[in-house]
Amino acid sequence: MFWNLVKHELKHRSSEKDKNSSHKRYIKYIYLVVFLVIAFVFITKLALAGELDPTQIWNVLYGLPFALIGISRAIIKREQRCNTVGWWLSLPFRRQTLIWAKFLAAMWRSILTYLIIFVLGLVGFFYALLIDPKLQLHDIGNFLLTGANVGLIMIVIGPLVIALGMFIGILALTEYRYLVSLFWIGFWVVWALVISSYAEVIFHFIKHQYAAFPGVSFIAWLPCWIITYILIVFMSVLLERKLV
């Protein structure tokens, strides 16, 4: 039964507003095309000038935590947007079961998002290979390892980021909903501080982290997953006692 619940959560959801608004239905595709055009121009320009470090393509993955937080928040918010929150909350399951099902669905979507970016990155690399005389096929090894390392980091911190996104969504359903904007501001400030202060360190870590694996990853993995679990329990308590 639990896996049926996860399957239910994996379905695409659109609201009445989305149904009636054709531009909203296609907006994500428009964003994707704009992003691909920018990436294409960027790669072409640098590759023709012989200045492209292909691992820079993975810089795009700095945006992944935002994508994950958006995916996970949306998986809660869509129940509100579609006016189905009453159905969701009256299902005869523990609150924690309901949250775990959404969490796993968000995890699956996040993995898919990462894989799509990985494949697009690979396409970018082969395109650069065609037009950049300095780039060689054997560079692909380093390129792939850098991309895979980001994936590894996502396995470590992804669940925590997803739980945070869901937490924001759940908070909006409770009597503490006034804290949502405060939480957002905090998230942006922390992220901006981390990136502005440690961007080079993080990127260096991403590029060379496979040498240190598995020790470093394991140290980070355990606390991240423990905090994720605590957040999930906390969310179920909020749903149980503080709904409005």
């Binding site: 039964m1 659109s14 149904k19 189905t84 009453g86 299902l91 009597e175």
Partner: protein
């Protein structure tokens, strides 16, 4: 025997009381109208019964137990202002019922869909509001459970759909031992449906009783309603 008993029930949202010291007793195996204008506390009362929210004070007993997710195995609940998932067909909705809702009878659900002229392949996204309301009603009425709670099932739908829904409720109620709670403020069209009523006003129960007795004492439900809320 009472299906629901509440004593001193209060629920406060920020500074407003949705329910204030409400005393409610609802007999079992009847069709009960929970009546009152918007903001009277009907939906809050229902949400307390299914354990979606907790009361600030008071006691609730539903089917002899305190509200909980376990008790929802025995309650079919249609939430207020609910819509159904747009990407579900009638068939998928029935599958949802079979997968997640205890006591859900697949055959009964197809039977009801047939009666309400909902084709199995029809998608929610292409339905009218009345058809969607019928589909959600199927999810509740195809369940063999002792308590059914329908929060404003007639809101915003046309007269023909309303009549079909009422006929279905009456037919099913006569086949089963089920307590059916229905909230509405559309008394004129639904008066014939109820055999027991509870009137809410400003978070309190101001009148409740057997419909026949109330009619005998005070006239039609519509005139009682006018009198109470004027």
């Amino acid at each position: 025997m009472n299906a629901i008993e509440c004593k001193g029930l209060s629920k406060q949202f920020e500074k407003n009381f949705a329910l204030q010291e409400a005393e409610v007793k609802i007999p079992e195996n009847r069709i009960i109208g929970v009546l009152g204008p918007n903001g009277a506390g009907k939906s809050t009362f229902f949400r307390l019964l299914v354990g979606q929210i907790k009361s600030n004070t008071g006691e609730i007993h539903v089917l002899g137990q305190k509200p909980s997710w376990e008790l929802n195995h025995q309650i079919a609940y249609l939430p207020d202002r609910a819509r159904w998932y747009l990407d579900y067909s009638v068939e998928k909705t029935i599958e949802y019922g079979k997968n997640f809702l205890p006591g859900f009878q697949e055959d009964k659900a197809y039977d009801l869909a047939d009666r309400m002229k909902l084709d199995a392949s029809m998608m929610t996204a292409s339905m009218s509001k009345g058809q969607e309301a019928k589909l959600m009603l199927i999810l509740c009425m195809a369940r063999e459970v002792p308590l059914v709670i329908l929060d404003e099932p007639f809101a915003g739908i046309d007269m023909i759909a309303k009549e079909q829904i009422m006929e279905t409720i009456i037919d099913l109620a006569s086949e089963r031992e089920q307590t059916i709670l229905i909230s509405t403020h559309e008394i004129a069209e639904t008066e014939g449906l109820f055999d027991y009523v509870v009137f809410f006003k400003e978070g309190k129960v101001i009148l409740s009783g057997d419909v026949e007795e109330l009619r005998g004492q005070q006239g039609s439900l519509q005139s009682i309603y006018r009198e109470l809320y004027r």
